[in-house]
Amino acid sequence: MKHVVVIGGGVAGIRCAIELAEMGIEVTIVEKQKHIGGKVRNWHKLFPSFTPAENVVEELIKRVQNCQNVQIRCCCEAENITPHQVTISGGETLNCDAVVVASGFTLFDARIKEEYGYGIYDNVITSADLEDMLNRRAVKLTNGASPRRIALLHCVGSRDEKVCQRHCSKVCCVTGVKQAMELKRLFPTADVFNFYMDIRMFGPGYEEMYREAQADYNIHFVRGRISEVSPTIDGKLQIKAEDTLTGRPLKMGVDLLVLLIGMKAGDSNKRFELSCHLRRQDSGFMQPKDSFLGNVESNMNGVFYAGTVTAPKTIGESLNEAVTAAHSVAEWIKHTA
């Protein structure tokens, strides 16, 4: 039986393993965390339908666990890759007929943007923190009170030369609008402001969700990037931006500031390039063979990609790529047999 190693047990890796197994291929998923599911495990509800994230993750995990020929190895980090061998932490090598790299992305560390005070001032949180608070039903200020004025800031750690992240992270605009709506549902009397440079609503139902946020939720959209945050004596956060549509500087006090952090290239990518000669893009994400017909292939025959390892993507896009990657693998194995 042919054997494929899938690196990373996020939604892309799991979906790819299921598809490969259904074609009669033996699969080993190598996942560095304790559990499979990837980042989506930590999310609350998914845009644009507000589907609980656990519905998606649990269904995928159930399906992959039902596959006889899929072995899941958690707490194992892939270190070295060749098309026929994957070395994991501890030095063990797994022999295989092809490899799918589905190792995903890394969240931008908001502490690097010191001017926003994450990790320094109270009540500055990231979008990932908010998802966690929503899951724990614990959205509140550090003093336990409910926020009355909330700001969300787009593009934190994306589209920013200063932190060497030029690319747009694609999902944070939609996430920002979704989170603004969730906050407004939790705190109907609160004022919610989204500070943006461009609103990117590229997918089906996204623009409609944006319109709903404006019309039915009365969320205020200010076109301007927050330049700095400082604490006030009464325990609030003062933010400064330019309201670029009126051309005037703007300041306001808020109780809670949510930083919509970007998707950075995965931590393992550098190693994959150095030790395995897989090519990276300037953004640090892995470079597919080409953008159209070879978008799940790498520059090395027998090594394939699926999901956010090559660029920021939605869950739907990552799942689609996983299926495509599985079929490309099957075809390749057939030709080399």
Binding site: E115, R159, K162, M197, I226, S227, K240, G247, P249
Partner: protein, 109 residues
Amino acid sequence: MINFGFSISKPRTIDIDRNNLHKSNEIIEAMPELQTCIGCGSCTATCTAGNLTEFNFRKVHTLVRRGEYQGAYEEMNKCMLCGKCRLVCPRGINTRGVVMLIKRKIGDF
């Protein structure tokens, strides 16, 4: 009285057909990075001069790029060259360099 910027004597339209883009092209050629501005307003938000006067760095350099030079030199003179804007610009534009360049190029306009 609030000045909304309307007047009957001067047309408000930026008329690209009539504006002389020669100077603005020279400026952009000398500092191509200026064209990468995404208009985020971080520079104006943090600007020392902009919080005290009506000076708006983003607006002035954008007008210059459209061939609207009138008053730009006087406006740029309000800049104290403190450099705070450069620290926050997400495109990494050498903003003080822009101020100096615009002043040099259109000083005699």
